[in-house]
């Protein structure tokens, strides 16, 4: 080997995006990866406090305590404590006491030049849709102090539910990637049912289109993208149905080979719902509170994210009814993520409440 020349390919980026199919056990993997790391501190960042709790519970299943080299943080705690506060003096005179939660756009008519009013309520609480923007700007004005600190602080960032990032979050993530801190993003753009914020920035990458952003990062050499195509939850038929909403994505392979007396995709006439409920007690799911449905404690699609049920009964919204009838995806283009989430909650059976005569998808009509 000595003296032989080798052509070395460009060093692959230390950062990766892992697109994990529904039911792929991604939380478990995320936790295992963090616990296994032994150099420096790993931050495990996820979107909501519920997710933080879920991750902590998973970690406790592995170890009696969460070791000091792993810190589990919610996305906003991470932004506030580790990024926004330490060098805020470059932008703002007062301490940032907290975050002001906002749906939609905060003070759209106050220009960024008026820093205090543009970013803050009462000068002390930063608008949730602008905190990432504040951090990017503050890092620039402090000569990169925020990123330098972050790099010294954590040896590795693992960010879960990456598909929920939007607006300036994406700019911030790119800044972090460019600063050379190894990041592992985990998520599934097919499940991008809500966003961390609603800023107009990066609108083109909202929802499942976030994959286009990932592709840009990959092109720039910032990340590699890996697909984890296994599901431990859904049977193959259900996985296929889920995949059908995103025909261009890699196909999911089911590891669930369990057989029951009622497996697959079904259509249930609204008159038969009662009987169906009695026979299989599925979890009922609906698009939103506005969807008409029988009173069986229905859960909204978005709410069901992360949850597993043996069987689900879905009340389709108008567009989904058209999709069921025609099989044409154009009807559910805008709600593909929610449909994907709804369908992939089930382990054995997915049923739609459907009274149409003609059906455009592979499904069996159920009769009591």
């Amino acid at each position: 080997m000595i003296g032989r020349l080798r052509i070395i390919s460009p060093v692959p980026s230390a950062s990766r995006i892992i697109i994990s199919a529904a039911g792929g056990g991604k939380t478990t993997r995320v936790v295992d990866q963090a616990l296994a790391s032994d150099q420096g501190i790993t931050a495990l960042i996820t979107y909501t406090r519920n997710n933080v709790r879920e991750i902590q519970l998973k970690a406790y299943k592995r170890r009696p305590v969460i070791p000091s080299h792993v810190e589990v943080l919610s996305w906003y705690t991470f932004l506030l404590r580790e990024l926004a506060r330490p060098y805020r003096s470059a932008m703002h005179k007062h301490r940032i006491d907290g975050i002001h939660w906002i749906e939609g756009k905060s003070v759209p008519y106050i220009p960024a030049t008026k820093t205090g009013a543009h970013y803050f309520v009462d000068g002390s609480r930063v608008y949730s849709d602008k905190i990432a923007k504040f951090i990017c700007e503050c890092d620039k004005r402090s000569g990169g102090a925020i990123m330098r600190r972050l790099k010294a602080r954590f040896s590795h960032l693992i960010i879960d539910e990456i598909q929920d990032m939007a607006g300036y979050d994406l700019d911030l993530l790119e800044l972090i990637l460019r600063s050379g801190i190894p990041v592992t993003f985990v998520g599934d753009h097919r499940q991008a049912t809500f966003s961390t914020n609603n800023a107009p920035k990066n609108k083109g990458f909202a929802g499942p289109a976030i994959i286009k952003k990932f592709e840009q990062w990959k092109k720039a050499g910032l990340v590699t993208i890996d697909y984890e195509c296994h599901t431990h939850r859904c049977s193959q038929v259900i996985a296929d149905l889920g995949d059908s909403f995103f025909p261009l994505e890699p196909k999911t392979i089911s590891k669930n080979t369990e057989v029951t007396d009622h497996d697959g995709v079904f259509l249930v006439a609204s008159a038969d719902v009662g009987a169906y409920m009695t026979a299989y007690s599925p979890q009922t799911l609906r698009y939103s509170a506005k969807t008409k449905c029988a009173p069986y404690n229905a859960m909204n699609f978005g709410e069901a994210k992360g949850l597993t049920f043996d069987r689900v009964l879905i009340y389709p919204h108008g567009k989904a009814v058209s999709w069921l009838a025609s099989g044409s995806l154009s009807h559910v283009e805008k709600s593909a993520a929610k449909m994907y989430v709804a369908v992939t909650r089930a382990r054995f059976s997915v049923a739609f409440v459907f009274d149409g005569k003609k059906c455009g998808i592979q499904a069996e009509r159920w009769a009591p």
């Binding site: 404590r81 506060r85 003096s89």
Partner: protein
């Protein structure tokens, strides 16, 4: 990991302090009441959130605020102005270290990007109205209403510090002087012992202690006693009476275990030994104890024990940062003048701050004692030799009725070449110093020699303009006349020349006579000015 700088505002006697510190050893010297102990207390408070061994919130009292500031505040209120309510600030700046990044940011009064901790005690805006009501009658205010105050304990990233565990540096304060009763002393040692144990050892100890208590009940004799007690049921109470040991949570091993030295319970061991054990134990405590604050290590210790202890401290310091306050020139000498931090008026001055490196070297090599004298004195009078020293001493005593040292004035005899070095240090330390010097027959040469100090507010050169009176002896003679000199010396010279010749050849003896005599004499004017 070490503390680089401490900034304190309005904490007790420290109205404003800004001290930069040595990485390893800091020997803090200064006058009594200059705030040495307060400095250590403030550092400990900011690093642990504890005061007198309890959380600050419990210990918060009005006298934590600088009294001058509070008085100035009340005065301003009385004048009808609206001053800012007093607040206390303690900032501890830590040297940058990757394990401290969590504490890093630039939210500190110097705007420096480094790890650190800040503790602020200020008016809680939520109580602003109550406070306004309280101060509306300034004439009735004596102290600040601390119940309207809150404590903001944050790192330089401006995140709250919930408890001392959030700071990866452990700080121990060893202050034997404040431990008044033996229970507190042993409690304190148990704490230090506890710090030196691993978690597993602690658990083992707790478990063994509990087991021991449980077994107590199984002892046949105890059982017999309890059976006998049980028969008394009804007579005293309707319930069964028995004896046992307290196994409830509060009766943990820490409360029941007493450290022993050579099988003697610690509170019964001498105070000096206790003190020394505490210091050594804290030094032994695993590497996690990074900062050790020691109050007057010499307390209660004999010279030999002190020597041994100081040797131990310097040998075992390792990577820890150590602060020792002391009045002992011995401690100073042993630990090295280079570690000295002269603390006065809220400033910490180090010899390494001297601009002239040769002066620095000179003092580093000089036995610590003389340097310390200059440092510890309120003011000093520098003289040229033992004769001058005796005359100045006596002149002072004649003027003030007591020895200069009793007033904190030290008369230091300095080799003539070293004068300028001492003066340089005096200026650095802002220590008033008078130089008592002969004119040696040339005032212009003298003025050239001390040119740097002629206009100084700190250093005054005391000399006589009459070039014919070139040294101390002619000055004494000219001031007092032949008769007085004869009677002081117990001689009977017939003229000045004979007397001068004698005095010049018996300098030491002459000075000693002047020092001891009961005959009244007057010091030359330039000496009188120095002893003012």
């Amino acid at each position: 990991m070490f503390i680089q700088r401490v900034i304190i505002e309005n904490y007790r006697c420290l109205k404003s302090a800004n001290v930069s510190l040595n990485e390893k050893l800091n020997v803090i010297v200064g006058n009594n009441e200059c705030g040495k102990s307060t400095l250590l207390e403030a550092i400990h408070l900011a690093m642990t959130g504890q005061l007198n061994g309890r959380p600050l919130l419990v210990e918060l009292h009005p006298y934590l605020f600088n009294i001058d500031l509070v008085e100035a505040y009340i005065e301003a209120l009385e004048k009808g102005t609206s001053p800012e309510p007093p607040r206390i600030v303690i900032e501890v700046y830590l040297a940058d270290d990757s394990t401290l990044t969590k504490l890093k940011g630039d939210n500190n009064s110097l705007g420096l990007d480094q790890p650190g901790v800040s503790l602020v005690i200020e008016l809680n805006p939520a109580h602003a109205e109550d406070f306004a009501q309280y101060v509306s009658e300034p004439s009735e205010i004596r102290t600040l209403p601390v119940e309207y105050y809150w404590i903001k304990w944050r790192d330089f990233a401006e995140n709250e510090i919930i408890n001392a565990r959030g700071i990866p540096l452990q700080t121990s304060l060893i202050d034997a002087s404040t431990i008044r009763n033996s229970a507190a002393a042993s409690r304190y040692v148990v704490d230090i012992v506890k710090e030196s144990l691993s978690p597993k050892e602690k658990v083992d100890l707790a478990l063994s202690y509990r087991l021991m208590k449980d077994r107590f009940l199984e002892q046949p004799k105890v059982k017999t006693i309890n059976d006998a007690l049980a028969t008394k049921k009804g007579g005293i109470s309707d319930k069964v009476i028995s004896v046992s040991l307290d196994t409830s949570a509060r009766a943990n091993w820490e409360a029941g275990i007493m450290p022993h030295l050579d099988d003697i319970p610690l509170p019964l061991v001498g105070k000096g030994e206790q003190n020394s054990v505490k210091i050594k134990l804290a030094m032994e405590t695993s590497a996690k104890s990074h900062i050790i604050l020691i109050e007057e290590a010499e307390n209660h210790l004999s010279y030999a024990s002190l020597s041994e202890l100081i040797g131990h401290i310097s040998a075992n310091a390792g990577s820890r940062q150590i602060f020792i306050t002391t009045h002992s020139s011995f401690v100073l000498n042993k630990l090295g003048v280079e570690s000295v931090l002269l603390f006065q008026r809220g400033e910490g001055i180090r010899l390494t701050d001297l601009k002239d490196k040769s002066t620095q070297d000179y003092f580093m090599k000089l036995p610590g004692h003389d340097t310390l004298r200059l440092i510890l004195a309120k003011r000093s009078i520098l003289v040229e030799g033992p004769s001058d020293e005796l005359i100045v001493q006596r002149a002072y005593e004649k003027r003030h009725g007591k020895a200069p040292l009793e007033d904190g004035v030290d008369v230091i005899s300095v080799n003539s070449l070293a004068f300028k070095r001492f003066l340089e240090i005096a200026v650095l330390l802002k220590k008033t110093a008078d130089v008592v010097t002969d004119n040696d027959g040339s005032v212009s040469a003298l003025k050239t020699k001390y040119a740097d100090y002629l206009g100084s507010a700190i250093v005054t050169i005391q000399y006589d303009d009459d070039e014919s009176l070139n040294t101390l002896e002619p000055q004494l003679l000219a001031k007092n006349g032949l008769a007085t000199v004869n009677s002081v010396l117990g001689q009977s010279f017939s003229n000045d020349a004979a007397a001068l010749a004698y005095m010049a050849s018996h300098k030491a003896d002459t000075a000693l006579r002047f020092f001891e005599t009961s005959v009244d004499w007057s010091p030359p004017d330039y000496i009188a000015r120095a002893v003012r």
